[in-house]
């Protein structure tokens, strides 16, 4: 039964991942990505990594992908232009990809003694909590620094300096005089013929 579930979700995962890159509409691609996330979460559940599985659903599907969908819908990029080279490059890329896949299947496929999932008495999330802030304290801190860098980079690259934005200055608006803007010009009327 577990084997059947595994193969079912694996097939869905592979199908969804292929569709992410082949489908024409970017919104559909994002939705297929959501499907891929769901299937991998299910596979993680089979490995008894329930915390990671639920984190994947909550964080990636719930937050990241929804945001991503918004961005895709708002940007209105012409995706057909971006994928122009797809068919042209397909033969070579497909051949190389198939070759690598074949080699990997031969090597990894022959690997028989895959270690079984570790069954522990303590639940997954407790085990994670026990090591995250102790054994893995340093990598955890560095990962935090990494996120900070991502944030700084995003702001530095997108924030436009003030001189482009137009502001109202109410004090100056109020203190405007008629003389500053209106000039009475005396235009001589044209002489009659």
């Amino acid at each position: 039964m577990i084997k059947f579930t595994f193969y079912l979700f694996s097939l869905i995962l592979i199908f969804a991942s292929v569709r992410v890159v082949t489908v024409k509409n970017p919104v559909h691609a994002a939705l297929f990505l959501v499907l891929a996330f769901f299937s991998s979460a299910a596979i993680w559940l089979l490995l008894q990594a329930e915390f990671l599985a639920i984190a994947l659903v909550l964080v990636y599907v719930g937050a990241v992908m929804v945001l991503f969908l918004f961005v895709v819908m708002m940007l209105e990029i012409n995706f057909s232009q971006l994928r122009e080279g797809f068919v042209r490059n397909l033969p070579v890329a497909g051949l190389v990809g198939a070759l690598i896949l074949l080699e990997m299947v031969f090597v990894v496929g022959a690997w028989q003694n895959v270690p079984p999932p570790v069954a522990t008495e303590i639940p997954n999330i407790v085990a994670l909590g026990q090591v995250l802030y102790t054994d893995y304290f340093y990598p955890f801190e560095i990962a935090a620094a990494l996120l900070l860098v991502a944030m700084i980079a995003a702001i530095a690259l997108t924030m436009r300096p003030h001189n482009r934005a137009k502001y109202q200055k109410p004090d100056q608006q109020v203190s405007v005089n008629r003389e500053d803007y209106v000039r009475i010009v005396n235009i001589p009327s044209e002489a009659k013929d």
Partner: protein
């Protein structure tokens, strides 16, 4: 676990840089534009402070800190010191260039500090996780720093190319790491190295046991032979296991259990090498070795020169350390496997780098291809696969970064507002415009070509000597041959500077700090060439070899 055995004090350089990066970030947000120089000075102060802390925290023997995540040893101290100093020089060279191009922003220096932090983490990583996090911290900062010049189309394109290919390389590296983890169930480099040597011992035992079984028809006799053989072996888990099985069962049963066990365990080694291939690919991407070099010319060419300088110098030291940490600290036992891969990368890099560089008209592109060639030479020492070889490579990478610093520094010096001196013709008649600057460029170009008495000669000599000692004479001959071909494009710059008429007579202006640093840079190249023993002794000392 207590705070005391985290050994936090050994990490003070990293802690200082991280803290100051955050402090500078906040200070900079409130600084008025005319005080922006303060950010620059704070950054430089931080780097000098970190350099002092690195020297102060110099352990007599390797020290593990933060639950074995970090190792502080002689190699890490030397490389960290050079990284910090080289970033310091990079910022001196960049300051005016950035101001001229209106990208003199606080974030630039903050990201620079984060990149430095990433490099320090890579250098003293003792866990595959730390190698990866350090690498990502470095790369992410670099992508953003290149893209900082938003209005430049080429810079954005360079950043995008670097980002996509860098992400691909990180993916490869991560895949390799996951294969290693799958087979050894550890990320710690010491444990990984133990596990790897056990698996390769197992491989020898498996083939000899298989041979014993196939030699003898009779089951009982075969098992007796196997038992005699495996009890003499102590360093292989599978030998112990087989001995136990034979003791616990009668001969025919033992045979039934042992045979499938041998078949399934023989795959472990293959998977290990499979993971190794991906690790080598990832590393080759980061170093820029052929055939994973295609990003280097475009990124070097497209980035603002100050960023090219940053990308080309200190990260190479970190990438070298990454190779040493993973291939030597983690998988020294597999050296027969990675030697072959590195030989291929090295030959291709030397050939492609040196030949394509000749055809370049843009000096940044030319130096990019020269980098690729230098990476090929750098790998030669690692191919030797012994401590002397690693020391020679370490010498090479340090010398290479000092030379690159000078070369790109000169391009920055000749550039001015609205003008990039990135054509080879821009160096025409430099001797007439300013003999001292021409002299600096002469020293650096001769050093890169490997002409004695410049230090570049000693660097090439060191790696070639090691590769010959290791028995690859043909490789050394090939490397020398292409070094001679490569000398052409370095000497062409010298010819343009001294024998051609200048095309522009605009006086070369630069601040005192820039002129002083650049002169010092060239003099270091010359002095190290006259007295290479000091630096060589430091590099050998990092590998526990006393001179």
């Amino acid at each position: 676990m207590t705070i005391a055995n985290l050994n936090i004090a050994w990490l003070l350089p990293e802690i200082l840089i991280l803290t100051m990066a955050c402090v500078i970030l906040v200070i900079d947000a409130y600084l008025p534009k005319q005080l922006r120089n303060l950010t620059y000075h704070l950054t430089q102060g931080t780097l000098l402070g970190a350099a002092l802390l690195i020297i102060a925290a110099n352990p007599m023997q390797p020290i593990l800190a933060m639950n074995d995540m970090v190792i502080i040893d002689a190699m890490s101290v030397v490389l960290k010191l050079f990284i910090v100093l080289i970033v310091f020089f990079t910022f001196i060279y960049s300051r005016e260039y950035l101001q001229d191009r209106k990208i003199f922003k606080g974030e630039y220096f903050v990201l620079g500090l984060f990149a430095t932090l990433g490099m320090l983490i890579m250098v003293s990583a003792h866990n595959l996780l730390m190698v990866f996090l350090g690498l990502e911290l470095l790369s992410l900062s670099l992508y953003a720093m290149i893209a900082m010049n938003r209005d430049s189309k080429v810079a954005t394109e360079a950043a995008m190319k670097y980002f996509v290919l860098g992400a691909l390389a990180s993916g490869m590296l991560l895949y390799g790491m996951s294969m290693l983890y799958g087979i050894t169930a550890t990320l710690d480099l010491t444990k990984l190295s133990q596990s790897v040597s056990e698996i390769s011992n197992d491989r020898i035992v498996i083939s000899s046991v298989n041979q014993l079984i196939s030699e003898t028809e009779e089951v009982e006799l075969a098992i007796k032979n196997v038992e005699k053989h495996v009890t003499t072996i102590t360093n292989s888990p599978i030998a112990t296991k087989i001995a136990e099985i034979i003791e616990a069962n009668i001969e025919t049963d033992a045979m039934v259990i042992i045979k499938p066990m041998l078949a399934s365990s023989s795959q472990n080694y293959t998977i290990l090498v499979f993971g190794l291939v991906f690790i080598v690919i990832g590393v080759a991407f980061k170093l820029g070795a052929v055939p994973f070099h295609s990003w280097i010319p475009d990124v070097y060419h497209g980035s603002p020169t100050s960023m090219t300088l940053f990308v080309a110098s200190a990260p190479k030291i970190a990438a070298f350390a990454m190779v040493i940490r993973m291939l030597v600290d983690g998988m020294q036992t597999l050296h027969t496997d990675w030697q072959g891969m590195l030989i291929l990368l090295s030959i291709l890099s030397i050939i492609v780098g040196n030949i394509i560089a000749i055809a370049q008209q843009n000096i940044k592109r030319m130096l990019a291809y020269s980098t690729i060639a230098h990476v090929g030479y750098l790998l030669l020492g690692i191919i030797a696969a012994n401590a002397d070889g690693y020391a020679a490579s370490m010498f090479y990478v340090v010398v290479y970064t000092i030379m690159t610093l000078g070369a790109f520094g000169m391009i920055i010096l000749l550039s001015r507002t609205g003008f990039e001196a990135d054509k080879i013709e821009d160096f025409k008649g430099l001797n007439e415009r300013n003999p001292w600057y021409a002299m600096i460029m002469l020293i650096i170009m001769l050093s890169m070509a490997g002409v004695p008495p410049m230090v570049g000669f000693w660097a090439k000599w060191a790696v070639l000597a090691q590769v010959i000692n290791a028995g690859f004479v043909w490789l050394a001959v090939l490397a020398v041959l292409f070094a001679v071909i490569g000398a052409f494009y370095y000497l062409r710059i010298v010819k343009l500077m001294y024998f051609d008429k200048p095309t522009s007579l605009v006086p070369i202006e630069a601040g005192v700090d820039m002129r002083f640093a650049l002169s010092a840079n060239a003099l270091i190249v010359l002095l190290l060439g006259l007295m290479p023993n000091t630096l060589m002794a430091i590099c050998l000392g990092a590998w526990g070899i006393s001179v």
